[in-house]
């Protein structure tokens, strides 16, 4: 469903960004020759520390950024050549993308449903389903800027799924949520997997990756240093749990930069 082949993404840095990132080079290789695939009916996890390049990879998959080199296909469609088809079949959630604060979750849901070309009846059915699952009904008519972080995140998730997409791309979906809300999100991702969707999530939380993901790709400094099921990774690194495995890899690969 998602095929990433030799993805490299290079950002050109402004003077200000160079100072912020304490680098003398005016380019930043945020993704370095990454290849991976996520299939129907599985959850693929991108695990890596802050700044590893997870968001960059997912934005490329979501057609918001074009790969510098390499290519990505989603449901067989190239993200650069057929971005419209890709957008029809994906849901993309990331914390920099927000819902209009002056509208209610219900208005936003209907609005995006119509932008996806859905009719009102289908939109209503989807809304009942998702709003009931995430407990949004109580605040569906409140303005988004009056909602708590957790409520906003639930609304964002529901809206991003309005068109019942085949591929779900969630960038750190539990970030900043309390454990109850976080649990309802990860439970829903499992439900989506059972429905046969391809799910790709990013996280820097080891336990989440361990429990949620069928396969895990570990990203350090823009490079995918290993991927596989949890047991494959533990076997390969000769460790007991994911955290130990991660630090083994981190010791090995984080030095290589410079």
């Amino acid at each position: 469903m998602i095929e990433i082949k030799n993805l490299t993404k290079v950002y050109k840095l402004t003077k200000k960004q160079m100072a912020e990132q304490k680098t003398k080079r005016n380019i930043k290789k945020a993704a370095d020759n990454i290849s991976l695939s996520a299939k129907k009916g599985e959850i693929y996890g991108l695990l890596g520390p802050n700044g590893a390049g997870k968001t960059t990879v997912l934005r490329c998959v979501a057609t918001l950024l074009n790969p510098t080199t390499g290519e990505i296909t989603v449901c067989g469609c190239d993200t650069v050549k057929e971005p419209k088809k890709v957008r029809e079949s994906i849901s993309f959630l990331t914390n920099e993308i927000k819902l209009d604060p002056q509208f209610s979750p219900k208005y936003m849901f209907n609005f995006f449903g119509r932008l996806h070309g859905m009719d009102d009846k289908t939109i209503d059915e989807r809304r009942e389903l998702l709003f009931n699952y995430f407990g949004i009904q109580d605040f569906r008519d409140k303005k988004i800027n009056e909602l708590s972080t957790g409520m906003k995140q639930k609304a964002s998730i529901a809206v991003s799924l309005v068109h019942d997409p085949e591929v779900v791309i969630f960038d750190e979906p539990t970030n900043g949520l309390d454990i109850v809300t976080a649990r309802s999100v990860t439970d829903y991702l499992k439900l989506l997997k059972e429905e046969g969707k391809a799910v790709i999530v990013s996280t820097h939380i080891m336990s989440e990756a361990e429990k949620l993901c069928d396969r895990i790709g570990i990203i350090i400094n823009g490079r995918k240093v290993m991927d596989g099921t949890l047991s494959e990774i533990l076997k390969e690194t000769g460790t007991e749990d994911l955290e130990d495995a991660f630090f083994e890899l981190y010791k090995e690969y984080s030095k290589e930069e410079a």
């Binding site: 950002y11 934005r59 979501a62 057609t63 918001l64 950024l65 074009n66 419209k84 088809k85 957008r87 029809e88 994906i90 993309f92 920099e96 993308i97 927000k98 819902l99 209009d100 604060p101 002056q102 509208f103 208005y107 609005f111 995006f112 119509r114 932008l115 996806h116 070309g117 809206v159």
Partner: protein, 407 residues
């Protein structure tokens, strides 16, 4: 174009469900304009009335014997005090300075005698007035006294000297001044109004486009809500069109509110100034002229919104967007002002095709009833061309990850 329609609907909903926005965009400007004009009109009327009501205090020295007769026959209303020939004037002058006395009139000693014994080449006797021209009352008293009393008195003395004073008039110019003025009435009225209106329209439209456009584009970029739209299967062109149309509608509405409230407020203010300046408002337009005006205004709104939108997409923050747009606002205003001072010389067709400037002279010409169809086409075409080019650039910018995501 269903997507564009949805975006327009959402943008309009956003503005019209936000009480603060509605008030600041539509109600406050109208209330302010009517309020300011009403206040100015009231002040003006009150001032004029008060000066008229005021009874002047006038001191007269060496008054000729028959002068009082003239005063009485004119029913001249003033507190008049007659001073002795040898009275010291410093006290009176001081009173004029501090406003307790309005006017001092001094006839030359032996005035009547000097008038009647005048011979050709002799010294002409003088009436001297002292007044304070920084005081409205004093000014009015002096003008009034000279225009009515002294001139009537002079006529009387002239009559005594010449009997038939018509002999003094060799010929007259314009016995009936009204009939001498040959002018297209409509054109003359349009001129006054036409000088100001294009400038105001330009200012109001741009103002509206600026505040709304920056918020709808840079604001959305900054808030992170634009990206959610870029994730839908909508064509980027459709998003751009939706944004441009909704901002145009709102800017147009806001300018219309300004314009209508000004038209209502104008009579209120003008009543204080006298009716000449109001003439332009009694203009009657033909249906064609109204249509032309609306089409020109529509393409102008489109152009301004496109200019603001391009600056807004390229800017990273709302502050930066304002910084980009402000110099453009100045250029637009100068172009509008250029029409106010450009004389009457014929303008070439090319001038009409220049966006902003051409629009302003076209509106001026509509108001004076002399815009030709070719000029109309040139101005609409020129403006539209630039606006479409800008729209293409905006769409390009929407497709650029550098512009939309700083990447």
């Amino acid at each position: 174009m269903n997507g564009a329609k949805q975006i327009i609907k959402k943008e309009l909903t956003r503005v019209f469900t936000d009480k603060k926005l509605v008030i600041s965009l539509f109600i406050l400007p109208a209330v302010l304009i009517i309020g300011i004009y009403y206040f100015m009109g009231q002040m003006q009327t009150a001032m004029v009335n008060e000066i008229e009501k005021h009874v002047s205090t006038i001191d007269i020295q060496n008054v000729p014997e028959d002068f009082k007769e003239t005063l009485a026959s004119l029913k001249f209303d003033a507190h008049i005090q007659y001073l002795e020939p040898d009275e010291d004037l410093t006290a009176v002058k001081k009173d004029i300075l501090n406003g307790t006395t309005d006017l001092l009139v001094v006839f030359e000693e032996d005035f009547l005698n000097k008038v009647s014994t005048y011979e050709t080449g002799g010294v002409i006797p003088e009436v001297k007035t002292y007044y304070n021209n920084s005081e409205d009352y004093s000014n009015a008293a002096r003008n009034n006294f000279v225009d009515t009393v002294l001139s009537a008195y002079q006529q009387k003395l002239l009559k005594e000297r010449f009997e038939d004073i018509d002999q003094l008039t060799v010929f007259r110019v314009d016995v009936d001044p009204e009939s001498s003025v040959i002018v297209d009435d409509k054109k003359a009225k349009g001129k006054i109004f036409g000088i100001l209106l294009p400038y105001l329209i330009t200012l109001m439209l741009f103002q509206g486009a600026m505040s709304l456009g920056i918020d709808a584009i840079t604001g959305e970029k900054e808030r992170g809500t634009m990206a959610s739209m870029l994730l839908t299967p909508l064509n980027r062109r459709e998003i751009v069109v939706g944004k441009l149309i909704s901002v145009s509608i709102l800017a147009g509405l806001s300018a219309a509110v300004y314009a209508v409230s000004m038209v209502f407020a104008m009579p209120v203010m003008v009543s204080g100034f006298g009716s000449d300046s109001l003439e332009g408002l009694s203009l009657k337009f033909s249906a064609v002229q109204v249509a032309e005006l609306l089409v020109i205004l529509a393409v102008m709104v489109y152009l301004y919104v496109a200019i603001v939108a391009l600056a807004s997409v390229l800017a990273k923050t709302v502050k930066e967007a304002s910084a980009f747009v402000s110099p453009i606002l100045i250029i637009v205003l100068v172009a509008g002002m250029a029409t106010m001072f450009s004389g009457n010389e014929e303008k070439s067709l090319g001038m009409f095709a220049i966006p902003v400037y051409g629009n302003a002279i076209s509106i001026q010409n509509i108001l004076t009833g002399e815009l030709t169809p070719v000029q109309f086409t040139a101005t609409v075409g020129g403006t539209l061309l630039l606006a479409v080019i800008l729209t293409v650039l905006i769409t390009k910018a929407f497709n650029s990850e550098k512009v939309m995501f700083n990447a």
